[in-house]
């Protein structure tokens, strides 16, 4: 996937001078794509949080517009948003684990064994994803959900190309291990 969102140099100059009009131009163009991006990474489970992350990303851009050139504004924003999603995953990982364990106990207590095989696999994938370290999860979701090229992910996350390839590969390996532990059938 390639981004077609570009800005004039005047917009970048305006951002550097803390000009609200320049920020408004960026917000107008970027709010939609950025919101879709964050909501998808969060599996549409918390749209309010996604909107907060988008807003915080714009605030971060306004406070420190450390962008080299105008054509990097969009990737800079996506990077800020991706980092904020990663922060959220890290913060929530322990809490989510506890909630999930409680949920599993309740499910077992209620005897919820009438779920379809497909639903069980989906739950197992979601749980495994939440256990996957954020540094692997984000590159994996970017290739699987957004179909980004490795080079784009490297630019987005500020990583080397080789590092991105390694992270995606390890993410897949770890996911399969986690799913096998949850008795999802793999060969």
């Amino acid at each position: 996937m390639t981004h077609s969102l570009t800005f004039d140099k005047s917009v970048l100059d305006g951002l550097r001078q803390r000009d609200n009009t320049a920020l408004a131009v960026v917000v107008d163009q970027m709010r939609g794509p950025l919101t879709r991006f964050v909501r998808k990474l969060l599996h549409y489970q918390d749209d309010a949080l996604a909107d907060d992350i988008v807003q915080e990303s714009f605030i971060a851009l306004h406070r420190s517009p450390n962008v080299q050139s105008a054509d990097k504004i969009h990737s800079y924003l996506f990077r800020i948003a991706a980092n904020k999603v990663t922060d959220h995953w890290r913060r929530a990982s322990r809490q989510r684990r506890l909630v999930r364990q409680a949920g599993q106990r309740q499910s077992l207590a209620r005897g919820e064994d009438d779920m379809t095989e497909k639903t069980l696999v989906r739950l197992a994938v979601e749980q495994s994803l939440s256990e996957l370290p954020a540094k692997y999860r984000l590159p994996l979701l970017l290739v699987e959900y957004e179909h980004y090229a490795y080079q784009e992910i490297a630019e987005l996350l500020g990583l080397s190309l080789a590092n991105v390839k390694t992270r995606v590969f390890r993410a897949r390996e770890k996911m399969i291990t986690l799913l096998k532990q949850r008795e999802v059938t793999y060969e």
Binding site: H43, Y44, V121, L129, E144, L179
Partner: protein
């Protein structure tokens, strides 16, 4: 040159993402024809991709469904909403009119003349209220007005010592 399976598994991962050169693709294909373990790994990676897409699709569907159920039942049909809106507008007009009518002058009130109007500082509240009442209802002339004011000043003088003792 023989390379370990770990090398080819990285290639499998990259092939799923469309990142292999034709040359690397050829190497991998030859290895897969010989290695059952790597063929299984390739099948697993593909299944994982499919599973992840299913999760995303289900999340999108749940999101759309929850929005529909959250919003749609609260909306009434247009045929029901229009009469309700008209009734509400009529109610607002009636209540607003009643409230505004409190501020309208009585029918027989004279327009206020500010020349002889006393300052509120000079009269206590009850005297001022009474003065306004007589001014609006009964004052036939400015002379009468002046005499009324004088009467109230007297009334004030009369009540002042009692107020001071309270």
């Amino acid at each position: 040159m023989n390379k370990p399976c770990a090398y080819y598994r990285r290639l499998i991962s990259r092939r799923i993402d469309g990142d292999l050169s034709p040359e690397e693709n050829g190497h991998l294909q030859r290895h897969l024809s010989l290695c059952a373990s790597c063929r299984r790994a390739q099948a697993n990676y593909r299944q994982l991709s499919e599973n992840l897409q299913n999760v995303l699709t289900a999340a999108q569907e749940n999101s759309t469904t929850s929005r529909k159920t959250a919003v749609l039942p609260r909306r009434r049909s247009r045929t029901v909403r229009r009469p309700l809106a008209l009734a509400a507008a009529a109610m607002v007009l009636v209540i607003g009119g009643l409230w505004l009518s409190r501020f309208l002058p009585p029918n027989n009130a004279r327009p206020n003349t500010t020349a002889s109007r006393p300052s509120a500082k000079n009269l206590d509240t009850s005297a001022w209220t009474t003065y306004r009442y007589y001014r609006q209802k009964k004052a036939p002339s400015d002379d009468y007005d002046e005499s009324l004011l004088a009467a109230f000043r007297t009334y004030q003088d009369f009540t002042a010592p009692a107020d001071a003792n309270r």
